[in-house]
Amino acid sequence: MKEPRVTSLWTYANPKKFIETTDKLLPWVATLALICLVTGLIWGFFFTPDDYRQGATVKIIYIHVPSALMAINAWLMMLVASLVWIVRRHHVSALAARAAAPVGLVMTLIALATGAIWGQPMWGTWWAWDPRLTSFLVLTLFYFGYIALWAAIENDDTAADLTSILCLVGSVFAVLSRYAVNFWNQGLHQGASLSLDEKENVADVFYHPLLVSIAGFVLLFIALVLLRTRTEIRARRTRALLARERMN
């Protein structure tokens, strides 16, 4: 009898199916990410005018805003993946959360570093204890703790359980910190560069290349997470095979 075709999303939680699918998907995502990044950054860096007050420094926006966006979204993705692990116990989900953490950390560091480089000529300081900056710093600490906990525990399932609960609790406290620092100090950082409210957006000349480069960062993040998840799955399979070898 022919097995009925399952088309649920959960099909992809099967590691084998996941590898098969991403085999086809990954080259496309990676290529698109490269195209978007190259287009967005070259367009942004060389074919947009300098801002009349900020000069050429405004162009760091094409790295700063997308990486900051991805830093937060990476944590959100880890939160969702952790929830899926806790509720449905799909191993791919736990591995994807683990794979996303270092990528998210690097995005956070990029955002902090580019912000500092921009802040030095514009605000006259590398660092200010501004709410946004501070909550990003706290987010970095959360990433460090999460990654360190993964690294410290030997048993994979125990590590997945503990880190996913840490991710849930950490998310609550990260949001709390975000609003607590608002209370604690006045902001220096400008408001959102992008929003659904048209009036708040940056001018169109900057806006379009920014969108392209955001798309590039999103695709880059997806490609890196897929790649790292595949690596984790294969590493785990290798370990299982080696363990079986030793048994024989």
């Binding site: 706290v138 600490l141 959360f142 460090f144 703790g145 360190a148 906990l149 410290a152 525990i153 125990t158 359980d161 503990l162 609960i165 840490l166 849930l168 609790v169 950490g170 406290f173 990260a174 709390l176 910190s177 607590a180 620092v181 209370f183 604690w184």
Partner: protein
């Protein structure tokens, strides 16, 4: 439940339990601050609420791994896990015992140390209130961290790395209450926020702590 609480308190007070170590650490931190920043009394009184809060927080942090590590080593944690008492209650009691042996003495010692930092006397009441409201949250959050790292050898540094970011909101509001109180500003709003964080932590975190403890005991 009461028996468990009394047992924990006794263990903490007797020799080797580390009772008083937290207090001594608090004292040393506060004494070292004037050496580091200089003895000008105006500067010291400006930073006094922050220093006292930070000292209390670090003293609390120092004693966290004792909450569960000893019971883990001698196996009594396994016994507690199979006892009729739910694990959520066990971790809540552990947090309560930790607060009674560490948090409460810190609260009581804070005004004495505030004298050393030349804090104006109208700041004492908000300082004590804020510590009284905030330190239970520190204990409960710390118990969660201790439960996360209980199975690890040399988990102490990792425990600090995990717990310190979680302490940020408590520290912000707690130190803000103490600072505002000292300079005579309204303290109601940060006080309510601090109380909210503490109540939320007490209500929700024992479930997370018990869940991670179950994983670790598996």
């Amino acid at each position: 439940m009461i028996a468990l609480l009394i047992r924990d308190l006794r263990l903490a007070m007797r020799a080797g339990g580390g009772f008083g170590l937290g207090l001594a650490f608090f004292l040393i931190v506060v004494v070292l601050v004037p050496f580091a920043v200089g003895p000008q009394s105006s500067l010291l009184s400006t930073i006094a609420p922050g220093v006292l809060w930070l000292g209390a927080l670090l003293a609390c942090l120092l004693s966290l791994d004792r909450i569960l590590a000893l019971d883990w080593e001698d196996g009594s944690l396994d016994l507690l896990a199979v006892s009729p008492l739910p694990l959520e209650a066990v971790v809540s009691l552990k947090a309560l015992a930790h607060w009674l042996t560490t948090g409460l003495p810190l609260v009581l010692a804070a005004p004495v140390l505030a004298v050393l930092l030349n804090m104006p006397s109208e700041g004492y009441e908000p300082l004590i209130m804020s510590l009284l409201l905030g330190t239970p949250a520190l204990s409960v959050i710390g118990t969660f961290g201790a439960a996360l790292t209980v199975g690890l050898k040399r988990g102490g540094l990792l425990l600090s790395l995990l717990v310190l970011p979680l302490y940020v909101p408590t520290l912000i509001f707690g130190a803000e209450v103490a600072r505002r109180g000292m300079v005579g500003l309204e303290t109601t709003v940060p006080m309510l926020m601090l109380g909210g964080i503490t109540c939320g932590a007490i209500a929700l975190l024992p479930f997370a702590s018990a869940a991670v403890l179950r994983v670790n005991l598996r």
